[in-house]
Symmetry: D2
Subunit: 400 residues, 4 copies
């Protein structure tokens, strides 16, 4: 039966998280280490220590590995609360790409892989990368994968060039997608490999300069050359890389939405306070409809985003794969929340484009959200494909 | 605990309603009586008889008065199903303005008023009007009410001019808003009166020509002159008309959204089928992204509308007044569903602007939805006012 | 050298036209003959007589045929002035589809065809049709033409079904597009035929009901069966129908824009006056930014439309084919002017959806503008194709 | 008579400028000195030397002061050509705020002021600031000016706090807006002062961090304390500061539009090339309508922007103040060109948010354009005010 009530313990937890972010994390938003992409593991370590002290580290991890074992519905509230600062999820170890990587590893890694690669991530001791995207396009369209793994019967020699590899700089757990070429020894196809970041043959060519800052370690160009990994480094099954990527992405897209909802809400909060105190033409900005209609539009967008997120969370919690709905939520929430940030910049006026408030950073950090984990257009294409196959979900009045 | 599941009996009912609409109601969409505004009570009577035979007449009415006593959540599913044809709610006696009027009367009418004015409405024997809007503006801004009621100790003499009075033509139950002037006999202020449509002094000046057709009786200009009503004709309390109007509007706005969701879904269904079979430049329209992105946008809009509607229904079912949320849902759903209809017209091309499909009628019928029961701008103003008073609902991570 | 000045005589003429429309044409906007699609040649004849008396009939026609021989730049000002009422162009005999048909005939008809088919059109004695669009799609995509013309050496037997044929009802000059099938007697391919409306074999199956009213005769379904036309009925050259259709469309699209600009300006004028006098919440609507920002957006849209129209007119006057620019102007002007009309409806509130003002009619009449002569999406496709071929016009800083 | 032709010499000049920018300026776009706000006068000096060598320095300056004395129409073509790189106008000494400041000084400075403050600017030897905006709002709403100038009969003591003062860091020519308080010695009111940057009492508190980089020296917080200026430092007349600010702004807004048009065209060029070579799902991005419709939308926006710019340039060249039209052009061009940049980011996908192409920098640099020299909302307010006073320009069919 339809019910939008959050359990009391979820509410309490979300409010505790928000309080933690406000009191302990926000002071770091002006930390100069944020302004340059590059290895910033000391900043991250400080933040992680704060969350650990508060009992809020990696709360989404499975209980048996030390987390709180949240379902997606609980995550929705907690991640939104954490997202009030873009550093909140960094502190709580539930930021991208680690959060999605931990999710994937907890689902498909072998026990020994869990121990070596996942547990130290959950404990906040290491970061990870998911090395999939390539310069020629294996981002939105994974069919273009060019990184190859040649198997000689003993080990796989991996070679190729990846870019936009978030957080590669200093990450210790590496998940690498490569195409196992046909070979006489066994199966082939797109495959995930799992290895340490200091394995010879992994070379970070450079850190790409990008408009976002919240991925404090930036996005890297990575070359694999002479990277040799034995069969024990295979993650899951050979040939199943795209299936695993999708397994990772459905919740990963959603957690992005959750965190950015918190950040957009922060913008709205700041813009609203500004509109209260700042006057123009003899009255507060808030009394100009040109301004307060923007705030109203924001409130509508935030409202719709929260509803859409909670709905997909509920689907996932009920075992529905929800690829279609996760495309809907990603496409609409990323577009609409960016508009929220953009309107807040506009309301703030000149200071909106400066670091006087955090809105400017959120604006820049949120722009890539419309692109990563599938740009809006790819999701619309997916939605349309689903429409072609199954008709509109609204043809049936109880379609969901 | 968050749950989006519909109860099985609601699902079954909604599907039965949809089936009824498809089989029995849609054939009437090409009835020539639809094309002209004016008294069409024979058409309505035929439709009502169909719903009655199916046990689907006035299902939202309280059980003690013969209905099924739906909560708002059930209404959401059933009204969406009914709205697949704009005549569905007419047949099932849950269309505006009757549905809102019945709701209001069931809340505030005296038993004798229920018997005389409400029960025959529930039974499908009569229609009603809510005579509030005036040429000088007592629509969006009720503070401009000019129709006055002068009390001489025995009865109230009501005089004034109303317009855009939906369905006045032939309606038997009249709810009239008038301002009781200060008088020595008792209280004064904006007041609702309840009377029969054939009371002397109620004069329908003309039927206004409008772009919508689904209000088959049209919208009228009504003059009150020499209309004398005794105190027993007062509905509720003297001076409380605006409070009652709000009491009526919060659910009435929402039921509009429910019904139009069904109609917009119908447009999507038709446009999708068209895009499957119609080809251009060598392939189905559906394989042109210029077309299928519109369909994807529609699917997103329908999805968001359904979520927002169900949420407010749940609030109302839990005793929350939800004025703020009902403004959010009205403002966003009316704007977004109209865009759905507009995109469907566009996808259909030339035939989209003709009555070859029902999309054209829905497009025209839906345009006023962005205006009645508060134009979008008035709702944004209300949302902004709420923001000023209470801050953003998203400042608190568990704000709803 | 860049100059936006209109010649004084053009200004004077445009103002005279506007005055004529206001004084003589607008009174007909409430003529009941408008409300039903069907043959209304008496209404048209009355309007035409008014323009003739004023010396404003068919002003765009070549001088040698009795017109004023306007260039496109002059047309831009005059047609905008005429469009203040959607009946203005009807009166002045410069409405679609006649205006485009006269243009085409003046370019490619033989002298005897001019005398029989064009001259009486210019004189206001007859209307015309351009029978191209077919149910299976030969609208946006002319490659799907199914109407065929079989040549037996003596005459062509034409058979096929057309629809959305504007004004077919009562038109005397017919331009029919049909595919001449391969035959041993001569050339073949898509061809235009020119004939009288009462030729046996032309059958008007029905008038389609559509949301627009200004094409007072409506849009028809037409069947050609046993229609036999001798070679003298060929218009231009065999096999060149699409080229002629394009020759007709570039200016025809533009004249649509000109006329609708006038109509949209009328909406703006009405909405602005309404916003001045109507009050809400204690002040004129015009002092609510929620309203006056819409008026400002309208003014911007009107401004951009006028600039874009005048630019293409200038190109055409200078012998540039301007297919690319005519796509740009059609796509943007139709979309933006419809938004103007839509915002004016919104500003007018409840009365905006009624015939209390002409805005409602213009809103409905303008919706098809986004579809005919190529829907927006087809023009975007054309623009993109041009981009692929020639790059952006803005790569060269003096690209136009 | 309407004419959109550019004179041949303007065309040749614009192309020469474009060539200069491509060959000499673009290489500096990856100069590391760009990445940090702060005094970068060496970078600027290098760029200026290049333009000087090419005979392209400060081309818009009056001939008698060493420039080419462009009219606004010529500026439109040349500044668009220069804007292909955001560093182009820096090199050619026609960037904001210097360009506007030079314009103002050439109009109202005394000969001795021209010699001391303007001539070295035209010669490329110094930069300037226009110190108007204040933290409490004297940006969009100049009525809030708080910086005061107390006159003791000998000199003015200026005190106050300004912020968002572009390029203050290292600028030598300072124009300062302060309110001359009522005094017994003469007139009072908002007044401009002109002085050297190293005058005691001018204190740069800090450089504000902002999302744009093209103002290489950033935007500063400036404190005036103990700043004493004699009467000879008054620029123009006492009490006329706002009139001068408007005199400066009408062309300054327009030149922003010109330069950003060039930058947006660059984005379009880059995105189009990317869409040609990058493939997804088996074909070039350019063959996906989801992508090429964005490029078509861009082309429309660029087209409209160029038309609107040239129109206002023509008005200004003809002595029209064009405040209304300059609001229209600023509001629409800034909004639409930013959308162009945003769509280009989207087309580029992941690399769109990195500095792999210049699109990312232009996107960030262009966001403030919607705010400075009057945010869009202030211009809409101005447009609406004009509508209230004079009605729509389109009420008269030859309104401009």
């Amino acid at each position: 039966m339809t019910d939008f009530t959050l359990p009391e313990d979820t509410k309490a937890l979300a409010r505790r998280v928000r309080q933690f972010v406000i009191e302990r994390v926000i002071p770091y938003e002006r930390d100069p280490r944020l302004t340059q992409h590059g290895p910033n593991d000391d900043l991250r370590a400080e933040l992680v220590a704060l969350a650990k002290a508060e009992g809020l580290l990696t709360p989404q991890a499975p209980k048996e590995l030390g987390g709180m074992g949240f379902d997606h519905a609980t995550q929705a509230a907690v991640f939104e609360a954490a997202g009030w600062s873009t550093l909140g999820p960094v502190a709580m170890n539930c930021a991208a790409p680690d959060e999605g990587n931990m999710y994937l590893l907890s689902r498909i890694a072998r026990p020994d892989q869990v121990k070596q690669f996942l547990q130290p991530m959950i404990d906040g001791h290491r970061r990870s990368v998911f090395a999939m995207t390539e310069p020629d396009g294996a981002g939105s369209d994974p069919g273009q994968l060019k990184t190859r793994a040649v198997f000689n019967g003993n080990d796989y020699e991996i070679s190729g060039l990846k870019w936009l590899i978030t957080g590669a700089n200093g990450a210790k757990t590496w998940i690498i997608m490569a195409n196992v070429e046909p070979n006489p020894h066994g199966p082939h196809g797109p495959t995930l490999f799992l290895t340490e970041g200091d394995t010879p043959g992994i070379q970070i060519e450079r850190v790409m300069d990008s408009m976002d800052r919240n991925y404090v370690e930036g996005h890297c160009v990575v070359r694999f050359e002479g990277l040799r990994l034995g069969p024990s480094h295979i993650l899951g099954e050979i040939g199943s890389a795209f299936r695993y990527a999708q397994m990772r992405l459905a919740p990963a897209r959603l957690t992005h939405c959750m965190r950015w909802l918190g950040a957009a809400a922060r913008c709205q909060h700041i813009a609203l306070e500004h509109a209260r105190v700042r006057t123009a033409f003899g009255k507060p900005l808030l009394h100009h409809q040109g301004v307060n209609f923007m705030l109203a539009d924001n409130e509508i967008a935030l409202h719709q985003a929260r509803l859409a997120i909670r709905h997909v969370a509920w689907l996932l919690d009920n075992g529905v794969r929800a690829r279609h709905e996760s495309s809907i939520v990603k496409a609409s929430v990323s577009e609409e929340l960016f508009k929220v940030a953009d309107r807040c910049v506009q309301i703030l006026g000149g200071i909106g484009v400066t670091s006087e408030t955090v809105v400017e950073m959120i604006f820049r950090d949120m722009r890539p959200f419309r692109l990563y984990d599938g740009p809006t257009e790819v999701h619309k294409y997916a939605i349309a494909t689903q429409l072609e196959r199954q008709g509109s979900a609204f043809t049936d009045p109880v379609g969901w």
